[in-house]
Symmetry: C2
Subunit: 395 residues, 2 copies
């Protein structure tokens, strides 16, 4: 009598949740400091101090009716103007406030895009490994997720498989770079080749294929790496952004959708996305966080801690014999397991109180995800456990 | 190629928006103080001072990683506990944190309910006059809105029409009391009779019919009126609440869903609603506003200003010959127009720089909505214009 799928989504305990429960149990037995949880992708570094300073300044000095009131559905005009100007400064675009739609985080940005763009039966192409909620969001919009298997040598794109998956039903292609769970940043060459194939196929089919770029980790890159600005390479790009990761405020639920002015019929696409937001109950993105985001949109929390953690983990794991593609961003590593079955590997890791997420849920078996947005000390204390885990496979 | 309905929803200019644009134009011509806008239902009274005090206290004194971090999908456990205890104190229930799901405002509460409860083709009964977005939300969930015509003598319920509309397809009945746009509060007798009919029909059909009570105006009542606590009268009640109106913070996007423990299979219903929230992209309700709402859930902004406005407008309009059902709550009046065609009436009102929303959009022609959440001075200045409008019909 109730929609089965909704019950399932509200009931299913994720692997990460199972690990969390196991961790709680073990913490009671051996002490929290001896349980090494690397399962959760929550920013562990506080927001830049400016976030709270600005929040308090707004609360103290601005008209309370205004700051707590509705904004227009697409977001406060001044906020959108400031973010557009920042994008223009940083990426040399020519964006205007009316190209931006403020969203209640990146998840909402994505659902608004899928519901705004997709008709029943349309296909959205996603590259493994991928953030598992993509499938939930795409299917709820009545579309089908078409998954391209992982290119495990470098976690760029398997273009052969991609070429075969494109079809007249392809409404959109979704990329996530820097990537959760691999930490890999797509190279300019990858983006260029992807763009060329999309242009060719759009022309062949006589319909635009939209490139949805989900980039909440855009600023979280290391060793001087840069995330290519996707709209530079492909006209029909829609950017979904969130301040959750760069500003360490995922609870605030604030992000935006940029419908580039180069998108075919961009005003209609924008209207469809706004209409989707309206129909899903997104009245406006949280107002106070819109004002905060606008004033902090060129800040990041202190990324040096992630950088230190990444170096320490990557070097140590490699030394122990783990194979891991060099990640250039995010706060994840995605090494190969020491046996084929990632579920079994994750189970064995638990014997050493290491909580590691198997890659299967990300569409990439044989690997595991390590979220290193944790205190450095946890990594230091965990290294002997990793060593024991590795050695257990040598016996 | 794009979903037509989404484009339409994102493009359609509402009547209220048209009035807003007219008002802007006229303000430039005759001065803003001479344009009498009664079209928008935005709280005009600031939030209680406690809201900002608590927000600043949280920002200054609590762990920034925690207050800006994700909460669990259903909302922070401590927040839900505090709200459950408040409901128990005020309404004598026996609610627990696990009966509550924190939502991103009342709109999200409703969309999560409709998507969580309704299968394709299910029907949701709504009583005119009604908040127009209900139709958008219900249809997006794949259900059909069945509208019961208004009972214009008292804006309670036309039970004959309601009885005929109930069918085995009825998944839910939606009520909104105190009501937007009429300001009327359903009496205990109305709720009791409604409950009895729903019980009878649920039994006849062998399926529960859920009563969704949308009550963002619950506390905004006058003359000692009280909003009956609906779950007391009907077991299968799901309450949707928002802090937007009582705390004057619609921008914050914070509310909750209460799945009463008396609801049949309440855990499954709760799971389906949570699954819907997840699939629509509602990761968690804005965290900071969860913490604020929990600590302010028994506060309201200063309602005496609305009460004064209501008295002044109601008495003055009645004296001029307007017929208006006595509203006991909200900040709306819904008088009869002075001609049958509410659109024509609204047009004529514009000649006197009065911006009044015709009732047609609320499913109740022949009436107009007056939002009196405005400075009292605007009402005082507007009264001569209302008088001229009334007199223009006597000629």
């Amino acid at each position: 009598m109730l929609p089965e799928k909704m019950i399932e989504l509200g009931t299913a305990r994720s692997v990460i949740r199972e690990l969390f429960e196991f961790g709680k149990k073990r913490a009671a037995e051996v002490g929290a400091e001896n349980v090494f949880d690397f399962s959760i992708g929550n920013p562990s570094v506080p927001p830049p101090e400016k976030v709270n300073e600005i929040a308090i300044d707004i609360l103290k000095n601005q008209d309370p009716v205004l700051i707590h009131g509705y904004t227009s559905a697409q977001g406060d005009a001044g906020v959108r103007q400031m973010i557009a100007e920042s994008l223009n400064r940083r990426f040399g675009g020519n964006y205007d406030k009316d190209d931006l739609y403020m969203s209640t985080g990146a998840a909402a940005a994505l659902t608004c895009c899928f519901h705004g763009l997709c008709c029943e039966g349309d296909e959205v192409i996603v590259f493994a490994p991928y953030f598992p909620e993509y499938k939930v969001f795409i299917e709820k919009a009545g579309a089908k997720m078409v998954l391209i298997p992982a290119e495990i040598e470098g976690f760029q794109i398997d273009f052969d498989a991609f070429g075969k998956a494109l079809s007249p039903k392809t409404k959109a292609v979704l990329i996530n770079t820097p990537n959760n769970p691999t930490g890999v940043v797509y190279s300019k060459e990858t983006i260029k080749k992807l763009a060329q194939m999309l242009r060719d196929k759009s022309e062949e089919y006589g319909n635009p294929i939209y490139l949805i770029s989900d980039e909440p980790y855009r600023e979280i890159v290391y060793d001087g790496a840069q995330t290519p600005w996707v709209p530079k390479y492909y006209d029909n790009t829609i950017v979904c952004y969130s301040f959750s990761k760069s500003l360490s405020m995922p609870g605030g639920r604030i992000g935006y959708i940029l419908v580039c002015p180069t998108v075919e019929d961009n005003k209609t696409v924008y209207a469809a996305i706004a209409g989707a937001g309206r129909s899903l109950g997104y009245v406006n993105a949280p107002a106070l966080f819109q004002y905060i985001a606008a004033k902090c949109c060129e800040e990041t929390s202190d990324l040096s801690i992630y950088e230190r953690n990444r170096r320490l983990l990557l070097d140590s794991l490699r030394e122990m014999g783990f194979h891991c593609v060099e990640p250039k961003g995010t706060f994840y590593l995605f090494p190969r397991c020491l046996e084929e079955d990632a579920m079994a590997f994750s189970e064995r890791a638990k014997e050493f109180d290491l909580l590691l997420v198997p890659g299967d849920g990300f569409g990439c078996p044989g690997h595991f995800r390590l979220a290193y947005c944790v205190p450095t000390e946890r990594i230091e204390r965990a290294l002997p456990a990793f060593k024991k885990l590795a050695e257990s496979y040598k016996k």
